[in-house]
């Protein structure tokens, strides 16, 4: 148990205990432990090949780890079990044959019958976040940023308390990425979800997160778990805040010194 910002005791929503992954003779991920408190935003940064996506896929239930580890959400083991996290990648994974509305309700469609309540919720969330006019559009009519918004709405209406986001804005141009980051913070604040965010963009990780977990290249392991001192709500102004710069240099140093060793 940790004591949160307001002195409230925060339970860990996600607990990862000595999770490692070996493919043949190659250790991709050294046994790693990590806890993510309910309602917090935690980023994992690291160079490519540091095992962050491997860790991500294990938590998502797509990959089974080496024996001996454990992953729990709200105290329940989710190892090798699906249906316990929200999931979003760099690719929007919208299906071209469904409209925006039907793409938002895709998770319901994949698991059960889509109800009128599902549709109402999809319309509501799309309208609230500025895509109400596009409900009956097919994804191909949307820009990259809009498509990622729809993908995130699909993730939200899956109603999982824990959201796994793997470089969701990695394919967007710099301008759109900044807009999307601000938007994500707004939505995160309003919906109170817990986010585990994977990125290789240091600025992005500082701008968004409460904590930044720095990982080393293969075999991937956690080299630092930093608490972000920057207050919320955050605006783009903090990109030039001295504490932001300091944080950035710390992380870059950690990443860089690792590369050299």
């Amino acid at each position: 148990m940790l004591v949160g910002k307001l002195g409230v005791v925060c339970a860990a929503l996600l607990e990862i205990e000595s999770i490692g992954k070996t493919f043949g003779a190659t250790t991709v991920l050294a046994p790693t432990s990590l806890r993510v408190e309910e309602g917090s935003f935690v980023s994992i940064v690291g160079p490519s090949g540091c095992g962050k996506s491997t860790l991500f896929n294990i938590v998502a239930g797509l990959l089974s780890p080496d024996a001996g580890g454990e992953v729990t959400v709200s105290g329940t083991s989710i190892l090798g079990r699906s249906g316990h996290v929200g999931y979003m990648l760099q690719k929007d994974l919208l299906v071209p044959w469904r409209t925006v509305e039907d793409n938002i309700t895709m998770v319901a469609r994949l698991t059960r019958r889509v109800t009128e309540e599902d549709r109402r919720e999809a319309r509501e969330i799309a309208t609230r976040y500025g895509l109400g006019e596009f409900l009956s559009h097919y994804p191909k009519a949307l820009s990259g940023g809009m498509r990622q918004r729809v993908a995130f709405m699909r993730t939200l209406v899956a109603h999982q308390p824990l959201l796994l986001l793997d470089e969701p804005f990695g394919a967007l141009d710099a301008q759109t990425r900044l807009e999307m980051q601000s938007w994500l913070l707004d939505v995160w604040r309003e919906t109170g979800r817990t986010v585990l965010f994977v990125t290789h963009d240091v600025d992005e990780s500082i701008f968004l997160s409460d904590r930044i977990v720095v990982m080393s290249p293969r075999p991937g392991r956690v080299v630092a778990d930093l608490t972000n001192p920057l207050a919320r709500p955050r605006t783009l102004d903090i990109l030039t805040d001295p504490r932001f710069i300091e944080m950035k240099s710390t992380i870059l140093h950690l990443l860089h010194s690792r590369e050299n060793s």
Partner: protein, 266 residues
């Protein structure tokens, strides 16, 4: 409206051009009428014998449509089974290629011996031709569905049936229709070959043979035109079905659903 005009007018112009070249060649080189008629004479031969031709045309259409449907269903089922079960894919792929290496005409005779002079061997021949491009395209499409999309379904705990109906099947629609359109183009050819080998008198192919041996050249060419029109018509029907069933290929928005729609997933 302009778009419709263009998509109808342009093909008509190109068909008209072919007719014009035909006319010029026949007139310009003084081709004898028993070798090749003028295009309008060929068309005329069709209309003046329409009473005899019509039931034969219906017969060919029936063989084509039934054979196509059997071939398409067989092609999809075989494609799905082969895509899903690797050992079956390995077992059947060589046989699949083998089936198409056999000359169709060489296949027709034994089939007529087995099935008789009924409509059955014609349907089998057409289905034989149609299933192949369908199966190959379905196998290809299903084995190339975006793995990340399948992972997304897995993460959310989708059953394999729902993953199949909601992701894999719609994802395969484009290659499926490519296969169906190829099949539609060849289907009439198969029906005609089957008629040639296995009919006792009342068929389009037999009618043409008969006209040919009587030096009714205009009727021979006219029958070819009729066969071609059946082929084009069937292709257009399948292509139209694709447009109808895959609106996302052409449109940017779906027609708005009724707000109180009671339908669930489908």
């Amino acid at each position: 409206m302009k778009k419709v005009l263009r998509s109808v007018l342009v093909p008509l112009i190109s068909i008209g051009l072919v007719g014009l070249i035909w006319q010029l060649v026949v007139v310009g080189f003084h081709v004898q009428s028993y070798v090749a008629p003028k295009p309008l004479d060929a068309v005329n031969a069709v209309f003046s014998n329409w009473g005899i031709l019509w039931p034969l045309v219906l017969g060919t259409i029936r063989e084509t449509v039934y054979g196509f449907l059997v071939g398409a269903v067989l092609g999809v089922v075989l494609g799905v089974v082969m895509a899903k079960i690797e050992i079956i894919r390995r077992l059947l792929y060589p046989l699949l290629v083998l089936s198409q290496a056999v000359p169709i005409i060489a296949l027709a005779s034994p089939l007529v011996l087995i099935l008789g002079f009924s409509v059955a061997p014609k349907i089998v021949i057409v289905a034989w031709i149609v299933f192949f491009p369908v199966t190959v395209n379905v196998v290809d499409g299903l084995t190339h569905v975006d793995q990340d999309l399948l992972n997304l379904a897995r993460v959310y705990g989708a059953s394999s049936w729902r993953t199949f109906t909601q992701i894999e099947l719609p994802a395969v629609s484009t290659p499926l229709f490519s296969g169906l359109k190829i099949g539609a183009t060849y289907a009439v050819g198969g029906a005609i070959i089957a008629e040639l080998v296995g009919s006792t008198g009342s068929s389009l192919a037999y009618y043409q043979e008969h006209a040919s041996s009587n030096l009714q050249t205009a009727a021979v060419y006219g029958t070819t035109l009729v066969m071609t029109v059946i082929g084009i018509g069937w292709f257009l029907l399948v292509a139209g079905l694709e447009i109808l069933l895959t609106p996302w290929q052409r449109r940017t928005t779906a027609r708005r659903r009724r707000v109180a729609s009671p339908s669930g997933s489908h």
